[in-house]
Symmetry: C2
Subunit: 127 residues, 2 copies
Amino acid sequence: MTSAPNYDIFQAIADPTRRKILRLLSNHEEMNLTRICKHFPISRPAVSKHLRILIDVGLVKEKKVGRETRYWFEPEPLLELKQWLSFYEQFWENKITMLKRYVEDEEINEMNISISKHNDKDKEWLS
Amino acid sequence: MTSAPNYDIFQAIADPTRRKILRLLSNHEEMNLTRICKHFPISRPAVSKHLRILIDVGLVKEKKVGRETRYWFEPEPLLELKQWLSFYEQFWENKITMLKRYVEDEEINEMNISISKHNDKDKEWLS
DNA sequence: ACAAAGAGAAACCTTTCTGTTTCATATTAA
DNA sequence: TTAATATGAAACAGAAAGGTTTCTCTTTGT
């Protein structure tokens, strides 16, 4: 229900503790806070906050069951990461493609130089 | 030459500016700082620091050419990310597998409970 | 009815990020 | 040799991250 922070997937998986939580949850249908905490040397509220962030980006879902809260892993948001990564697959998969880009770049470089003199606002920003 | 910080891939790509730099470099054989800066609304030293972090994790390489420094993209470290992601592919690729894990989890849960009573130190920590 | 268990919220503290401005240094063009 | 260009380094500042302790609230077991 807290909405302010607004993390993204990249930030969410940047922390090793959160990655560990994901791995843990992905191997257990669902777990409550106390059980998750058994796997970490940090305090319960600390783990709770990490979970909150993971929930924020949709990687974890929660539901109340009596006095406890059950958490489970939701893989779907990782597709965004996969998609981001897929762009770079061309670079390992075939060096030919990479080489091709490099050759084309010669022309692109020239274009940028001439364009930027008159239009220095190709500062797309973001992504 | 600065070695202290020691970032990892996950942190390196967590920042949107750094992701943008990667995209930029991957489309240009090599670029110097000034040219890279044209694409961002932040100061040169700020961009320089981002580059330093990317270099730290091996995603960017640099070389001095006269008075300027040329930077280029190095895709190899992204394989670690790909590998990390590959673990989770089972969850989207076939829901049957996911369902299978969930069913097996019933037993796993029981095991954990009985084991944790006597051996509460399955706190692997990390990864 | 009450103590114990399971969690979330709040307040607070440190360290790390991200960015800035200013200064210094090495090349290069006139 | 001098001014301009390209960058790195240092010192600083504000905000965000990650953690802690304490308090409160709800649910459950006796």
